[in-house]
Structure formats: structure tokens, C-alpha cells
């Protein structure tokens, strides 16, 4: 293996960071909170460094954002449409109708 010195140094640095930084388990919690509040400066720096050395967590954060974006877009698109396969049972329909006919009870 003949890595050039720059690559070697980067490799060593990544290795060092992976061992010294907060773990993935700690970072997924921070990533979830980044969807809820602005992160502190310290959190932002640690997250940035972690994402530099951990592709899994890069995908994790991308996917949290993708899920939110696609769920909200979908909700806007199907607003007002009946969802297929979900309907009141005949029994519930009758019960609700009769309750509407005697609203005082």
C-alpha cells in the first residue's frame, strides 16, 4: 500500500475522529433534534466533524429530511381526497347517522 502522505494523514485523522467524537448513537439523537430546534455551536461543530467521517450518519440525516419533505408534499397533494381502502363500516355509518337525527341525546 502506497498512500501518498496527504491521504495517509487524512486517513489517520478520520480514524482518530471516529474514536474520539461522540458516537453514532449520540449523534442520531442530535440529528433528530436538529429537525426541532437550532443546534448549539458545539453541536454543529461535532455533527459536521462526525458527518465528515461517517457516511452512515450522512445518509441518516438525509433520510430524516427526505421523509419530512415527502410526507408534507404528499399531504398537500392528497388533501381532500378519500384514501383508498379506508372507509367507515356500514355499522358505524348507521350509528353516526342515527346520532345526527337525534342530536339532543
Amino acid at each position: 500500500m502506497t498512500l501518498n502522505p496527504y491521504k495517509k494523514a487524512t486517513h489517520a485523522l478520520r480514524w482518530f475522529l471516529l474514536h474520539r467524537l461522540p458516537t453514532c448513537k449520540q449523534m442520531v439523537e442530535v440529528m433528530s433534534q436538529s429537525m426541532e430546534r437550532p443546534l448549539t455551536l458545539r453541536e454543529r461543530v461535532l455533527l459536521k466533524l462526525h458527518l465528515w467521517v461517517c457516511a452512515w450518519c450522512v445518509w441518516y440525516l438525509e433520510q430524516l429530511r427526505l421523509l419530512r419533505a415527502s410526507l408534507r408534499a404528499r399531504a398537500a397533494e392528497v388533501a381532500g381526497e378519500v384514501s383508498p381502502g379506508v372507509s367507515l363500516s356500514a355499522e358505524a355509518r348507521d350509528r353516526i347517522k342515527s346520532s345526527l337525527n337525534r342530536p339532543s341525546s
Partner: protein, 203 residues
């Protein structure tokens, strides 16, 4: 066209017809958020009863369906409030949520992803997913195993876009409780969607 408008105007006077016109829609809306058929039926019934009592205030602004959904949202809020009062959070959701299964318990890489549980690259965009309604069915199925309040919080936040504070008030929980619930939902959902939607396609 004119005929149709007249029909709608006439039907909207008769509350029993609301059940046929909007019942399934309201039920689907409530069912997605509550994941409990009898609770969703109750919410629809309460919504239509409340609509009947305040029909004079409707005045035909906007569509009748939008008006009814507005009432239903209040009923769902009431439902979650009741749930919050009746069942302490710790019993249902476990205050200290252990997500141990996803991360290595020991060794040099303690706390890092388990290789077979770590995220894969999805390579998808919201626009692509939007064209695939089956994807949203998978998502819906993946929400079901979660405790009702966890999936409820997730949907109110990620689908309806309510503010954290609003959801905390509704559920009677602290911000920290809510963050743990959302984190739990995200971790589970991401993994479940990957297994059931993305992975079979990558192989």
C-alpha cells in the same frame, strides 16, 4: 354543472348525507392520525354533531369538507389531550427509550451503527417518491407498530407541520419527552421503510 351545484347546496342542508359525502374522508383522516378504528369513528361522529350545532356559522365560506376537517382537528386534539391525562407517558412509551438494537453494545466501536442496521443510501428525491403511492402505504404500515402517541406525535409534526410546543401542550408532555418520542419514531420508521421499500429494490 348547474344541476350539480344545486344538488350540493341541497344535500349540505341534511346532516345524514354528510356521512355519505364526507364520512369516509373524515374517517381516513382520523384513522391515519389515531390508528384506532373505534376512536376514529367517535371522532367523526363528534365532528358531525358539532358541525350540526354550529352549521349556522358555516355560511358557505370555503368548501364544506375543509370546514369539517377544521372541526375534526379539534376533536383529534381533544382525543390526544384525554389520552395524555388518562395514561402517564412512562407507561406507554417508556421514558428512557433504549435504542440498543441499532448500535454496537461493546467493543472498539461501541455506540456506532451495527453494520446490518446502518442506513443504506436511498438515492431518492421527494419528487420521485411522490409519484409512488405504494411508498406511502409502506410508510403508513411502518407507523402502525409504534405506540399510538408516538406515531401521533410524529404525524402531527412531520405531516401536519405543527410546532413542537403545540404538540407538547396537546399531549401534556415536556419538550424532552416529545423529542425522545420523535427520535424513536424516526429511528424505527427509517429502518422499516428501508427494509420494506428501498432494500428489495436495491438487491
Amino acid at each position: 354543472m348547474i344541476e350539480e351545484q344545486r344538488t350540493v347546496a341541497r344535500l349540505s342542508q341534511d346532516p345524514a348525507v354528510w356521512v355519505d359525502e364526507h364520512g369516509d374522508y373524515l374517517f381516513g383522516y382520523a384513522m391515519f392520525r389515531l390508528r384506532d378504528a373505534s376512536a376514529a369513528e367517535d371522532a367523526v361522529q363528534e365532528t358531525l354533531l358539532a358541525a350540526l350545532q354550529s352549521y349556522h356559522s358555516f355560511e358557505g365560506r370555503g368548501s364544506q369538507r375543509t370546514w369539517l376537517v377544521g372541526i375534526l382537528k379539534h376533536k383529534l386534539t381533544d382525543h390526544f389531550r384525554r389520552m395524555g391525562r388518562e395514561t402517564p407517558l412512562s407507561q406507554l412509551e417508556g421514558e428512557s427509550f433504549e435504542h440498543g438494537e441499532f448500535f454496537r453494545p461493546a467493543g472498539e466501536w461501541k455506540g456506532h451503527w451495527e453494520a446490518d442496521r446502518a442506513p443504506l443510501e436511498w438515492g431518492a428525491t421527494p419528487e420521485e417518491l411522490l409519484r409512488q403511492s405504494d411508498f406511502f402505504r409502506v410508510l403508513d404500515d411502518c407507523l402502525s407498530p409504534l405506540p399510538a402517541r408516538v406515531s401521533g406525535a410524529f404525524i402531527l409534526r412531520e405531516v401536519d407541520g405543527l410546532a413542537s410546543e403545540e404538540i407538547c401542550q396537546m399531549f401534556g408532555v415536556t419538550t424532552n419527552n416529545l423529542w425522545v418520542m420523535l427520535h424513536r419514531a424516526r429511528l424505527h420508521l427509517r429502518h422499516c421503510v428501508e427494509l420494506n421499500w428501498f432494500k428489495p429494490r436495491a438487491v
